[in-house]
Amino acid sequence: MKTTYREAMRAALRDAMQRDDRVFLMGEDVGRYGGSFAVSLGLLEEFGPERIRDTPLSESGFVGAGIGAALGGMRPIVEIMTVNFSLLALDQIINNAATLLHMSGGQFNVPIVIRMTTGAGRQLGAQHSHSLEGWYAHIPGLRILAPATLADARGMLWTSLQDPDPVLIFEHGSLYNVAGEIDDDAGAVDIAKAAVLRHGDALTLITYGGTLPMVLDAAEQLAGEGIEAEVIDLRSLRPLDEHTILDSVARTHRAEVVDEGWRSGSISAEITARIAEKAFYDLDAPVERVCSAEVPVPYAKHLEQAALPSVERIMAGARRAVGAGG
């Protein structure tokens, strides 16, 4: 059936609310407003204000309350408007959600799901546009997901709710209007493995989230030039499915990592390091990286676009990788 990323997310929320009484959605403007990105539109009428719970602008307070509710036996889904706002809740996410199980010697797990929008491209400036999911992936105790496809938008939430530990789901703002087909009976999907979305033997393009559509686009155009790229959608940034990456690189011998996050100290750096550590002798060329320029995301359209990964930059990197070495 036809759907959009936003509708798939909403279907996942509705499904979870129907299947498990312990599940509730909490966040700023999730109820009466219908969600700042309209993901939860209509759910208040269906499930009522206790379970579609509008909160004040208190990110630390309501994220912490979600963690407490999870400790108390509920299965909260907490929505944070954007990743930049999640910084106000870092104390709760990192000092509590990620550590309680460990500090308590295994006594208190925290089954919370935190969803937030991430990424640039909509001229929202430097306080609404950053991509900090890779930064969260640095934290032991968290599971970090980046659904990039309609199937994952529909299926990752339920699996995340079954997880005994905190799961953060990053939804790139540019994906909400993406439309396409999913199976009528689409449902839960695994959240541990990366997916190979396109097979090829010339090089491996590794990406996730908002840059997946442009990587697939670049791969199509590269095919027109005779370069058959394999495309990996990481789906999960922690744990990182190293096996799928290394397996592909062992076959293609070339890799390019595409990440909307900044380059320094990033998830792209981590992936590159692992390839260097574990597939060094498989490589025929240096690993290429396409990341965002190291600048707070600017407002002006031409500046913003210049700061972000693009199909052209991805293709240029791929040509370099293929042209290099033997």
Partner: protein, 355 residues
């Protein structure tokens, strides 16, 4: 201010129990200091000496399935909630027999059996957790109370205000207990707050709040009982400001440059243990042999606990990565994330069986 005068206490048997509870905390922590000095315990150690009446009075009013959220100065809260002195000391020794298997230490005592949710060392960081625990009870229709302890230093944090607002807005069953010992580490209340009447801050959120003499265990218990009953019967959040004083340094590293010795001495005249003991003795309610027996009992408990901790075993290093993620029956290595987390292939496999 205090109800403890020389005419004695209304229920001597119960008062003796409270005296015992306070003394258990006092002796446990005196032993902690000794063990710290002997380098048996490391890390930070924050003792509660002088403030025992607060935990002793409040804990008395709770039901077994209520929840407690505390701070990093929580040895007394854990002990009086029902965590054994042995499990507490073993935790400080970093032993597998500790209440958190050596992962937490002095600042992070947790216990699922008594619903003791820490041991939270980020000032005010526990308040949102308490709000959430209470929210879960409300949504599930349970008549439970969550008690949240925090110091007066926490009222300067945003999380305090966010939590007050959420609890009041949603009328959640939380009792906030502000242990006002006048100093946030070394910063006096008057040097950090424009409004030093803390109960007023809670009142600003429409939360019933009152101040209590935190050195008088009977007054604490009475106020806490009134508040807990109100919370449990659907009266929404309540707030107690418990006026108390820390007799010892903030931690073992504190040279106490910020307060006069005379001020400490003045507060020590209102030592909560001596106050109750004195009131009972003056009214002939505490025969010398009872007091002697009480002290011997407590000494024996602490001595047994030290023995338990001393004889504990270090948690094996092979368990280092355990409890980062929940053990999962399907992967046999303590969670899919663990081995991956370090990129260390040796982290998989042995010693990581679920459960």
């Amino acid at each position: 201010m205090t109800g403890l005068k020389n005419q004695g206490v209304p229920d001597a048997g119960h008062a003796l129990h409270l005296l015992r509870q306070m003394l258990r905390v006092r002796r446990l922590e005196e032993k902690c200091i000794e063990l710290y000095s002997a380098a048996k315990i490391r890390g930070f150690l924050h003792v509660y000496i002088g403030e025992e009446a607060v935990a002793a009075g409040v804990m008395e009013t709770l039901a077994p399935d209520d929840a407690v959220v505390a701070t990093y100065r929580e040895h007394g809260h854990a002990l009086l909630r029902g965590v054994s002195a042995g499990a507490i000391l073993a935790e400080m020794y970093g032993h597998a027999e500790g209440c958190c298997r050596g992962r937490g230490g002095s600042m992070h005592l947790f216990d699922a059996a008594t619903r003791f949710y820490g041991g939270n060392a980020i000032v005010a960081g526990g308040l949102p957790l308490a709000v959430g625990l209470a929210l879960a009870d409300r949504m599930a229709g349970r008549q439970r109370v969550t008690v949240c302890f925090f110091g007066e230093g926490a009222v300067a944090e945003g999380e305090f205000h966010e939590s007050m607002n959420l609890a009041a807005l949603w009328q959640l069953p939380v009792l906030f207990c502000c242990e006002n010992n006048l100093y946030a580490m070394g910063t006096a209340l008057g040097r950090s707050e424009s409004q030093t009447d803390i109960a007023l801050k809670a009142a600003a959120y429409e939360i019933p709040a009152w101040a209590v003499d935190g050195m008088d265990v009977l007054a604490v218990e009475e106020a806490a009982r009134r508040a807990v009953d109100a919370v449990r019967s659907g009266g929404g959040p309540h707030f107690l400001e418990l006026r108390t004083y820390r007799f010892r340094a903030h931690s073992m590293f504190d040279p106490e440059l910020y307060r006069e010795k005379s001020e400490v001495a003045q507060w020590m005249e209102r030592d909560p243990i001596s106050l109750l003991q004195g009131a009972m003795e003056a009214a002939g309610q505490l025969p010398a042999e009872d007091w002697t027996a009480l002290q011997a009992d407590v000494e024996a408990e602490i001595s047994t606990a030290v023995g338990f901790a001393e004889n504990g075993t270090p948690e094996p290093v092979s368990e280092l990565l355990r409890f980062v993620y929940s053990d999962r029956p399907d992967d046999g290595n303590g969670g899919t994330g663990n081995a991956e987390a370090t990129g260390n292939p040796e982290a998989t496999g042995k010693g990581r069986a679920a459960g």
